[in-house]
């Protein structure tokens, strides 16, 4: 019995410790990995009492975590529809705001060994082609771009998020994929970009919002204000994003 009592006490202490922290849990789309890494450092410099913790993943997975009650403070999604579902479940505190825009680009292994010239190569069955899965923003946008160009792709894999997709391009296992401009920039040199014509390209708008369950709505709001500030936008553009 004493063991049980001890266990209860230990659990209580651990539980209390959690509340004492000034943690700000930010769930951010995988494509924001590097930009929000820099954002975290810059924000913590200004707010030393706050410890920003990044929870990075596919926007759909992040949405699912939030809808299942994860104690997240801020949600930065790579598309509107995942945010819309969070809004529909009344999980957001205040209106979501578009904080950045990302264009799409064709990603090929360094040196472009398969000599991919443009979107029309995505119909080539000989090539190994990857997209993000449907439901994942980069997957939905990529399909929109291909539909705009009137191309039916011959897909070999639907990856769970943009990082997983990029890893396979980087390893040379895929001949071509559609990712964000920022992703190609982020791996500098190991992946080359092939432009998508503006006429068919899609601008992905990223919304951000404070969540109802946030421990401290003030701190969460301050983080979003910082992202939208001139300083925050400068960080975003460093990583290839454009201001809305």
């Amino acid at each position: 019995m004493r063991i049980v009592v001890l266990l209860v006490v230990v659990l209580a202490i651990v539980g209390c410790g959690k509340h004492a922290d000034e943690e700000l849990l930010v769930s951010a789309a995988a494509s924001l990995t590097n930009a929000f890494g820099a954002m975290e450092i810059a924000f913590e410099e200004k707010h030393p009492e706050t410890d920003v913790v990044l929870n990075l993943g596919g926007s759909a997975s992040l949405r699912e975590q939030i809808l299942e009650g994860a104690p997240v403070d801020v949600f930065a999604s790579a598309n509107g529809s995942n945010m819309d579902q969070v809004v529909a479940d009344e999980e957001t505190f205040g209106e979501p705001r578009v904080f950045t825009v990302n264009l799409l680009q064709i990603a090929v292994p360094a040196g472009n060994p398969a000599r991919v010239a443009g979107l029309e190569d995505f119909a080539d069955e000989e090539l190994l082609i990857g997209l993000c899965a449907e439901g994942v923003p980069c997957g939905d946008f990529a399909r929109e771009v291909l539909a705009n160009a009137g191309i039916t792709p011959s897909i070999d894999t639907n990856e769970p998020d943009v990082r997983a997709l990029l890893t396979k391009v980087e390893a040379g296992e895929l001949d071509a994929a559609i990712t964000y401009v920022t992703d190609v920039a982020s791996v500098g040199g190991r992946v080359d970009g092939v432009e998508i014509p503006d006429a068919v390209n899609v601008a992905a708008e990223y919304p951000i919002a404070v969540l109802v369950r946030a421990a401290d709505h003030g701190t969460a709001g301050a983080f979003i204000d910082f992202v939208l500030s001139q300083e925050g936008q400068a960080i975003m553009s460093e990583f290839g994003f454009t201001s809305p």
């Binding site: 019995m1 063991i3 049980v4 596919g58 759909a60 997975s61 699912e64 190994l128 990857g130 899965a133 449907e134 439901g135 994942v136 897909i155 070999d156 894999t157 639907n158 990856e159 769970p160 997983a164 890893t167 396979k168 390893a171 040379g172 296992e173």
Partner: protein
């Protein structure tokens, strides 16, 4: 009442802690049942995306089990019966996939056996064979993750086996091959079966190594666990239906073979 017998009732703390332990396994299942769209389930499970994934899962997990048997039993025999330098290291290497995150295993496979990999590169140059994004990739990834279950089970059985039986058979004139076939294998048979069942079950549920190494394409590499993952992004009812299907199939197999495994594992 002078003789104090050992009570049949278990001590309360053990009952309590054991019950909590059980809850850890049962509660998530309960969550699944809670969310299940019962009336739609037959239709959801009958949809082509699910039946295709089920077929692929069965083919891949059974292939992985057969391959594990072909290579895993000899490997277990070597580990149990042959003294060689670095045996502990080799045993560690064999067990590594049990503790490694499957995604790491999948990435390692990709770098080794992919089109540009150390071995996959020359293989591709020579034969044009590409393992990733094919059913072979799925079989490879699941075998990598599942085979250790067979090797440890069989190795344990071989080490516990009384070697005097084999000695007796040999002294009666049986050749080495006959001893192996007629004495050793029948005696460790139940453990081999238990190991095979575990291997199959692990292969059937494999996700991380598969999606990392073989990718995810319906009809080609999308097994049931991958279909669940994709469905979670788009249609949660389908995800829950597939999850239930996996629970039922796995549980049925594990319970059917319970007797053997209770005794020998």
């Amino acid at each position: 009442m002078t003789d104090r017998r050992v009570s049949q009732r278990p001590p309360v703390p053990i009952l309590l802690l054991g019950g909590l332990g059980l809850a850890l396994f049962v509660v998530p299942l309960f969550g699944l049942l809670w969310r299940a769209p019962w009336s739609d389930i037959p239709g959801l499970i009958g949809s082509p995306i699910v039946t295709e994934a089920l077929g692929l899962s069965l083919v891949a997990s059974l292939s992985a089990t057969i391959i594990s048997f072909l290579f895993g039993v000899p490997l277990a025999w070597l580990l149990a019966r042959v003294e060689f330098p670095g045996r502990r290291l080799v045993r560690g290497l064999v067990l590594l996939p049990l503790v490694l995150p499957p995604v790491v295993g999948g990435a390692a496979l990709l770098f080794a056996l992919g089109r540009r990999g150390v071995i996959g590169g020359p293989l591709y140059e020579l034969t044009g064979l590409v393992l990733p994004f094919s059913i072979w990739g799925v079989v490879f990834a699941t075998t990598f993750v599942a085979m250790p279950f067979l090797v440890i089970t069989v190795e344990g059985a071989l080490r516990n086996l009384d070697q005097r039986y084999e000695g007796a058979a040999a002294s009666l004139g049986a050749g080495r091959w006959t001893v192996l076939r007629r004495v050793t294998l029948p005696m460790i048979g139940p453990s081999v079966t238990a190991g095979l069942v575990l291997t199959w079950a692990r292969a059937f549920g494999e996700f991380g190594a598969t999606i990392t190494f073989a990718g995810n394409l319906p009809g080609r590499t999308q097994t049931l666990p991958l279909a669940v993952f994709v469905a979670l992004e788009s249609d949660r009812a389908v995800a829950v239906a597939i999850s239930l299907l996996m629970v039922v199939v796995s549980l049925a197999v594990l319970i059917t073979l319970r007797e053997r495994w209770w005794k020998f594992l």
